[in-house]
Amino acid sequence: MRAGIVSYGAYIPRYRIKPEEIGKVWGEDGVARGKGLGIISKSVPSPDEDVITIAVEAARNALKRADIDPQDIGAIYSGSESHPYAVKPTSTVVAEAIMAAPDLTAADYEFACKAGTAALQNVLGLVESDMIKYGIAIGADTSQGAPGDPLEYSASAGGAAFLVGKEKVIARINGIYSYTTDTPDFWRREGQPYPSHGGRFTGEPAYFRHVMTAARKMMEKMGVGPEDYTHVVLHQPNGKFPRRAAKKLGFTDEQVETGLLTPRIGNTYSGAVPLGLSAVLDISKPGDRILAVSFGSGAGSDAFDIAVTDEMENFNRNAAPLISEMVENEVFIDYATYVKYRGKIRRKGD
């Protein structure tokens, strides 16, 4: 495939809450909960942030690192399960906010936590077939967790954007593989504020089956093994699942570490693999090979075999904030502030 990643940008809100702060409200041992999930803190959007603002900041950061005319962008697809509008796209606001409008196509994607990688596949297809010169794919979420639900310990906010093109490609896509089944492990019905899930059912038949099959078949398709990759980025609903899946697949802790952000920022849903991949690209060198596998409940996994090119040497990654800088730029809040920021307090007129 000649289409590949030309640039990328990310955004992580700076507020954080710790599991112990959540646990103390619900009469649970938050420290133990956090330990069980492998999470020490999660990001929280401020009241004036949502998927649209995160998507715009991520797309702008991607453009800061690329020397292109935004008018050459022919498609913007944003994947999320927390688009601010049920009807009215996130992507149109992004298009206008990066001055790519009006000569382009735009749409929003939804496939639980893999909507961002679904968007990336579609943009790659349009660029590869020469229907457009450049396209932007975004994965972003301000995910919901019902008060008192175990999800509250992990559901967080953040996102990343990828500029896809054929010129000055920093990360070439060697191949793509997707694995999709009808598995109702996690869902949110129309009009419901919080998602429901199958508890332990979200593990083996859902996350592990899809992520591991997609990873294995991707490697089979490319004729390679775990040892051929520099980094592996797996969907990370918590800090434990991706480590366990990677280990079973034959990857080492070193291959997993760079792209594993959930322990510090929580589960950013559609933003998770895009952010993990951004963290890897932040430190990648020409010749590095990356396996990225997303997972979306319902259920499916998208796998990408990615090769970092020599063009990475000329890439100005410092033109926008690095993932490590955004992860470190943290302000901790208490549970009361958290519920206020997330709009969980019922007020007069609600």
């Binding site: 700076r14 401020s46 009241p47 004036d48 942030e49 949502d50 649209i52 603002t53 715009v56 900041e57 702008r60 601010p84 509008y85 606001v93 206008e96 906010a97 001055m99 206020k340 920021y341 609600d350």
Partner: protein, 132 residues
């Protein structure tokens, strides 16, 4: 906020599109059709320009008695910012506590939710500023 009015101002609010007088070279924000200094000499010479979005705080105040839309963020900072092009505008300063704000502090534009027309209405987005 009136929706058509906001829609007309999207380019200014999203991308800080202002004007530059082709006669004297001064920048303006929001956009103007005529330069207040050059008057008719500026007619047809007011070019739309994208302002860089970086500048410094000229003056600020901490709001404790907040507008209902902003009560979740109180106390919050409103500031007059001078952009590097010399244009001044008013904006909320975010990602920064009132104690951290100083006159002369470098800030840059960020994209945030400004307001919403109730739970069922349209959401208005635009610039706010944060420490550089």
């Amino acid at each position: 906020m009136n929706m058509p009015r906001f829609w007309r101002e999207i380019q200014g609010r999203y991308n800080l599109i202002g004007s530059r007088c082709g006669n004297c070279g001064d920048y303006f924000f929001p956009k103007r059709d005529i330069c207040p200094k050059c008057h008719r000499k500026s007619i047809g010479k007011m070019d739309a320009v994208k302002l860089g979005g970086s500048g410094k705080i000229v003056s600020y105040t901490v709001v404790h008695d907040a507008h209902p839309e902003y009560s979740d963020m109180k106390p919050y900072v409103m500031a007059i910012i001078e952009l590097d092009e010399g244009v001044r505008l008013t904006s909320q300063i975010v990602d920064c506590s009132p104690e951290e704000v100083r006159t002369g502090m470098r800030v840059r534009a960020t994209f945030r939710k400004l307001a919403e027309d109730g739970k069922e209405g349209v959401i208005f987005y635009g610039y706010k500023f944060r420490p550089e």
